[in-house]
Every structure is written in structure tokens, then in C-alpha cells.
Symmetry: C2
Subunit: 345 residues, 2 copies
Amino acid sequence: MSEKRTDVNELGEFGLIDHLTEKTQIKNPSSLKGIGDDAAVIDNGHLKTVVSTDTLIEGIHFDLMYTPLKHLGYKSVIVNLSDIYAMNARPKQVLVSIAISNRFSVEALEELYDGIHTACKYYNVDLVGGDTTSSPKGLHISVTAIGQGEEDKLTYRSGAKVGDIICVTGNLGAAYLGLQLLEREKQIYLSNPGVQPDLQGKDYLVGRQLRPEARKDMIDQFEKAELVPTSMIDISDGLASEIFHICKQSGVGAFIEESGVPINQEAEITAIDFNMDPITCALSGGEDYELLFTVDPKDLEKVKYMADIYIAGEITAAEDGIKLHTKGGNIHPIKAQGWVHFGNK
Amino acid sequence: MSEKRTDVNELGEFGLIDHLTEKTQIKNPSSLKGIGDDAAVIDNGHLKTVVSTDTLIEGIHFDLMYTPLKHLGYKSVIVNLSDIYAMNARPKQVLVSIAISNRFSVEALEELYDGIHTACKYYNVDLVGGDTTSSPKGLHISVTAIGQGEEDKLTYRSGAKVGDIICVTGNLGAAYLGLQLLEREKQIYLSNPGVQPDLQGKDYLVGRQLRPEARKDMIDQFEKAELVPTSMIDISDGLASEIFHICKQSGVGAFIEESGVPINQEAEITAIDFNMDPITCALSGGEDYELLFTVDPKDLEKVKYMADIYIAGEITAAEDGIKLHTKGGNIHPIKAQGWVHFGNK
């Protein structure tokens, strides 16, 4: 954080909102009215509007001991844009609400908003509203993203059919392992504050955790190839949870090949260092913000040659359940897992 | 709260979401896709989309010692619908995100959602999405409301012109006095738990605080009379704050007549009991969720005969500032006031 510390009281509510949002620029013609009224106004024309919301909470979703506020602001937007892309739609606007306790200075909030503005700029999204309030404890960031999609191109969780090919973008497990590294260094620091964190050579994993990206490029790629997935979801809670959602809502089962699940080499080595099974990290880790989607077999040729897309399995009948075919040749059922925050905090 | 206490862990994340949203019914044809995908999908046709978001936080915006969860759920929707009506638009969808600590049972959340569903039903709005997560402390409710309006009927804060008539709906100050009563009884109870709260005859004030309504009826009335206000805002922070917003964004001043500010009789008596000036409660109290709007003088005849609308003053030139003309004949400047949570919590 910066050295200067301006108490938020010095600006007051209206001053604070003006200050934090003065850099906001409107770029999308559909953003008719942005911040500064009771509500934002969006022009939709003939397209469908897609809306998603997600909240990040200090002590649950992030730890400010190792999360720079700028990255946090960036990530809070990304996790919402990822949901819009997962509909095969394009985000156009975001509303950002923050609840902050007294301990946050104006400079700290500026860093947070710097990250928010950077994400908006990079993904060509307009910040059109939100709410700023105080919180008795900690920082809460709640983002609503609004996007547009063409009706016949929107992809739901419910469209997978038996025989469809299961695809995954990027690689999985890295964000989770980045978190394990950060948590380990935090514990070392807490027991011996003289020791500097040792994250040498772990930039990729730590970056995946602290500053994820949303797969806008995949939506562009699908459009170019005139490919419409039969179902799609973003991987925020781990592949196991996401395939469970697709199977439940499509009324199907799934057969996942361990060899088809993409895992980055650095993630694999780090998992082994932590005495973890790399495939478990990939299946249950979460926060990778990659896309899981299914395509009709007739589109296999299109998918096969697309950059950064991996074929991870096949959709089966519901009664076959959700199974993992391991590299060792065994077949295991895959269990869904949502957040476990209620249990361990 | 109910007697039964089911730990949220028993349901897990997906079970909890399913459980809380199973009663959700979609009524608006524009709600193409509701809960259960990465994002909701909204069909807009030729109308403009209006979006607003607001967060209610335990210990800042509400105290569960005297706020029934059902009322809280209801109010969390209302405060957002009020913002959409203040644009002269109609809310169609809401997304509700909650963050809860371990101490909330499934039954407590059911009551909260019961209030949310009741508000949706009464105002003909669809619950189409949201997010449920855990919080290290307390309850946070963040609602995003999405509405539709006709472009030439949308009312902004920036449209007031010199000479326009300032109007207020309903009455002001009652919600604030309801809060004072609840706080007083809470303090008495805390120092002597044997004493039952005495809120006899104060139903109206307490009801205004705990279970406010949004002025949907005014939007209907405007439509019927073919009246489009020149500017409009909902009164959530008190008349003084809201007129300040209108004046700032319209580049004008305002002259408010104390005799034109509607104050309910019960509120007036209670203010005096508390050694407060009733007009101060009306100007700075907040949470009434009435509408403040301006009309062109040519529309005065239309407004004059509308139910529950009061003429409170006139828009003046910016250099004249924002003034109150008291019943005693004095003229005082009115000061804006946002939330003061940062200062006193």
C-alpha cells in the first residue's frame, strides 16, 4: 500500500464516490448512462442481455497479507466477466459495490479501483455503477457484470448431449497451487517475520492465483470458427464441480480422461512437492477461470486445431454417472464439491 | 427465528442454493433464463435496460436484534426497486447475493428468502440469479435490480431547470423516527432484559423503518397522466441529500418551503418526544424511499391533483444555492449529508 493515508472521512461519501470513479470512461455505445444516477441505463438493441454477480470477501476469498489491492480489484472484475464469457456472450458493463471498514485508506481504495479500471479497459467493459458503504469488518467486493449475446449462440449448462466431446481450455490446478504457495509463505512469515517469502520460480502459479484472466480469446475463437458449444461453464470451483453442474442440468453423465486434463508442468512439480496428486488439484482446485465446454462430435475437427483447447472426455448417459479414467487404467467416480468455507472457517 | 436450526453445512453450497431458490417463479417474458447458469439472460426488445445495485450490511444498515429476517429480505429488494422507479422505469429482475456467517441457520435464511420472494411477487419482479457465500462475520445482502424504461420517459437527476416545481411523495422522517424508537427500546432491553419493548401506537413509524415500500404507484400515476418529471431521485438518505444530488447534477439551486415538506403526525409527535425538530428528521432522516422529483411549471395542474404528492418548493439558479424557507419566515442554507457510518462506527 501507499505511504500516504487519507482517512475516508476526509472525503465523505459523495466525495469518495466521485474520487474513485472520476477516471471512469464510457466506451460502449450501449452504456447510455453510467455512474451518477439511481441506476445505469443500457441500450440493448436486438441482442439478449446476460447478467451475473459475484462477491469476494476478505478472509474467505482473499487474504490481504499477500493480495495486492490492485490485483484484487482486477480479479473481482475478471471472475464476473468469466461468467459472461461462459454464456458465449460478451461483457459490456459492470457495477462494483464495495463495503469497507475504517482501516482502509483512500489510497488503498485507489489501488483497488486502479485494478478495477485496468480490467475494464483491457476487456473493453464500462463501469456504470455500484455502491460504496462501510462494513464493521473487512472488505467485501460485489460485482455485477452485464453482457450481450446473440440468442442462438448463447451456451447454457443444460445443452450437453450423450456423445458430445468434453473440452477444457488452458490448464487447471495452477491457481490452487499458487494459493498453497502463498499460504505456506504466510505461515513461515507469521512464525518468523524476519524470513522473506521465497516464491522464486513460482511466478506463473502465483500469478494464476492473484491475477487471473478471463477467456475472452476463446469466445473470439469460437466466433471465427462459427462454433457454438452445446454447453459451457467457467471453471471457478474446479473441474469436478463444473462437470457436475453440466451433467445435472443436462441430465447426462461424463467420462473424463485423466490424460486429457491439461496440467501445467510447474503446477505438477509443485503439487508433488506438497505431497498432492496433480489430478486432484486440477479436479478440485478452482479459481483457474478456464472454460469447460462440450461440442457436438461433428464439430470435433474445428476444436482439434484450436489453440489452447484440450479434449478431456465424452458425455455419457446419466446412469453411467461422472467417472474419471486414470492414467493407470482405473475408473473412479468424481464427486462434486462446492465451497467448503462454512466448514473450515 | 424458527426453533429448528439446520446448519448450512448439512445442505452444502449447491443444496443451499437449490433450497433457497426452489420457490422462484419466472413471470416476466423478458426473463429468458433465471437462476442456474453462469448468468441470467434478459430479453429487452426495444426498451432501455436500467440497472441498480445496493448492499445492506449487518451492523451498519440493520440490527438483527429488532429486524425480523423476513422484513430484511423484503427491504433489501425494495431499496433497489426504489432506484429503478426513480428512473421512471419498471423493475423486471433482481439478483440477490448474500454473505453469511456460521451463526445463520438454514431456517434463518429461509425467512430472509421468504421476504425476498414476497417483495418479488408483490412488485412483479423475477429473481434471476445471485451468489451465496460465507462471511467471517455478520450478514451482507447485495441486490442488483434490472428494469426497463422507454427512452423518452426515463428521468435523470440532471434534468431539473430553473422554475421547475419540486415535488415529494408520501411523507418524510417516519422511517428515521421508527429507527430511533427501535434503538431506544433496544437500549432499555440491554440494560434491563426483563422489560418488554414498548412500541404501542408506533406501528406506522416502526413499519416505515422495517418494511418500507417502493413507489410503484407513482410511476403508474405518471404514466396515466402522461407526465414525465424533468428530474427524479428516490429519498434514501433524506431530502437534503437528494435535493443536493439533483442540484449538483442539474446545475441549479433549490428553494424548499418547510410548510411544503410532508411530515406524518405520528412522526411529528415522536420527534418532539425525542427533543428533535421534525423538519430536521424529514430533511436528514433517510430510508423513507419516497420520490423527490421536479416538473415543468406547465405540468403543475397535473401534479396538483395527484394523490399523495406534495409541492415542496421550486428550482432556482445555481448561485442561489439550496435554501430552506422555514415556517417562521427565516431562510437557511440546507447542507447535504451522505452516510456518516465511517465516522461513528
